[in-house]
Each structure stands twice: as C-alpha cells, then as structure tokens.
Amino acid sequence: MLYRFMVFLCLLLVSPVFATEQVKVDYMLNCQGCHLPDGSGFPARNVPKINDEVGKFLHVEGGRDYLIQVSGSAQSDLSSERLARLINWMLVTFSANELPSDFQPYSVNEVHQLRQTPLINVNEVREGLIKKIQELELES
C-alpha cells in the first residue's frame, strides 16, 4: 500500500506542463505576485493574508464593497466580468470556511458599479473593517 502511494507521489512530481484555467491565470498575473500562490500574503510587509481571511469581510457592513473597491481589484486591468469571476473564485478557493451561510457571488454588474469608486484611504477603511470583524468574532 505504502509502495503504491510512493509511486503515486513520484508520478505527481513528474507530471508534465499543465494547462491553467483562465481564472487561475488571472489570479497568477494580477494577485499571486504579492498574495502568493496559497494566498498567505506577506503580512510583515503589509501584503494581506487572503486564505482563511477574505471571506470574513462579507460578514461586516462595507466589507463586500471593500473587496472590489480596494485598489488591487478596482484598478486591475481585468474586465468587470473577469474580476467578478476572479473574486468569487478567490472567496470559494481560499476562504470557503469563512463565507456567510447566505453567501451570494458577486454579479458582473455589482462589480462594475463598485469599481467606479475606488478607495483612496485604503488602510483606514481596512483597519475599520478588521476592527468590526474582530468585534464580531468576540461576540460569537
């Protein structure tokens, strides 16, 4: 059994070049450079951690808007359609456990509207939201 598992592992390591799906390519080209492949970011240098975190923003007022208005989203060169798909994918991929039970994916229209007003004072807004999230976590 162990032997077969080892064989399987070896095969995994030598798997050939894979085609990458479009939403993943969008993540790689627009987010991964800083937020890293697993979404862990680099908090010591102010690159927010996404995995196990990003879904929490949907629990507090303003959080849903923030995820689109933050400069990395709003000012990316992605179309609103691709941005919506990317953010929905990131929420489900990196933070499924933190999503609200009534989670509604972003629509293209919603994303398009929100990104018309990108945030100027990102850090301030972010800190406010994180404070609200922490209060929510203390309550529960």
Binding site: V7, A19, V25, P37, S76
Partner: protein, 174 residues
Amino acid sequence: MITRWLDNITEKSVRQGARKTSRRGFLQGVSTLLVGAVAYPLLPVFRQGAFASESVALQEEGDPNKCSYWRHCAIDGYLCGCCGGSSTSCPPGTVVSDITWIGTCTNPTDGRDYIISYNDCCGKGGCGNCPCQRDARDTPIYRPQNSNNLNWCTGSQADTPYHCSLSVVIGVRE
C-alpha cells in the same frame, strides 16, 4: 563485534525481504509504475504547479544566459545564470523574494503562452553581469502587480539589496 552485528542485521533484513516479497510482486510493481506513468497525464484532473517549480516536459530552445532567451521577455535586471545561479535558482548567498511580479511569454518552440514568475534574488549587491531589460506587457508603476520596474526585494523577507532576477515557468495558458 561490529561486523557480527552488521552480519546479523543484514541477514535478518534480507531474509525478511525474501519472505515478504516475490519476483512476481516486483514485476507487478514495475508494471504498475509503467502503466501508471503513461496513464496519469491523461487523467482529467486540474494540476497546479507548485511555486517556482519547473516542469520536465517543457520543450524549449535557447540559452538561458542570453537576454534573447524566450522566458526573459519581460525581465528587468541581471540574469542570475550569469551570477552564479541559474535562470531558476538564486546564486549562493542570496535569498529568493517570494513577492514578485508575474508575466507571460510566448515559447517559440511550441507557440504557447507561458506564465513566468520573475522572482528577484536578494541580500547581496547588484550582480552586474548580463543586464537585460525587455518589457513585454510591462505596465507603469501605478499598476505594480504588472510592473517589472520595481525592486521586489523590498517587499520580501529577503530585504533590500537586489542581486539578480529569475525567470521561472509556473503555468501555461490554455
């Protein structure tokens, strides 16, 4: 004393091996490996490459230590291959910056677009060998995620001094 102990250990393990395995079992294992190796890439599973990993199946031509090498299509810096490392690994004494910028280059050998991670190697002063600046799809600095004109070492665990840059294939576009 020691040789006797070694003898005992060896004898024990060989006998145990003989009891537990058979020649057919060995053949079965090898066959499984062969069939598995052929069948595995055909399975309809999405495979995501690990960060900064290289694929063995990539077909390509060219010299990684020349600026004209296809993967360097959006690089801006010194080629690590000329600085004691390679195009995919940092020279000794430097640390790879995980935080980086990522672009795409067309591989002329197979005509496909590959996703390239241009990680900087940091911790030593500028290497100075093989300077190379090519700016395919590079964006102005106000779109930092797609700009090669940044010292990515400043945003990483490696810290500021910039030494050279890598060109690592991390995916391929469909």
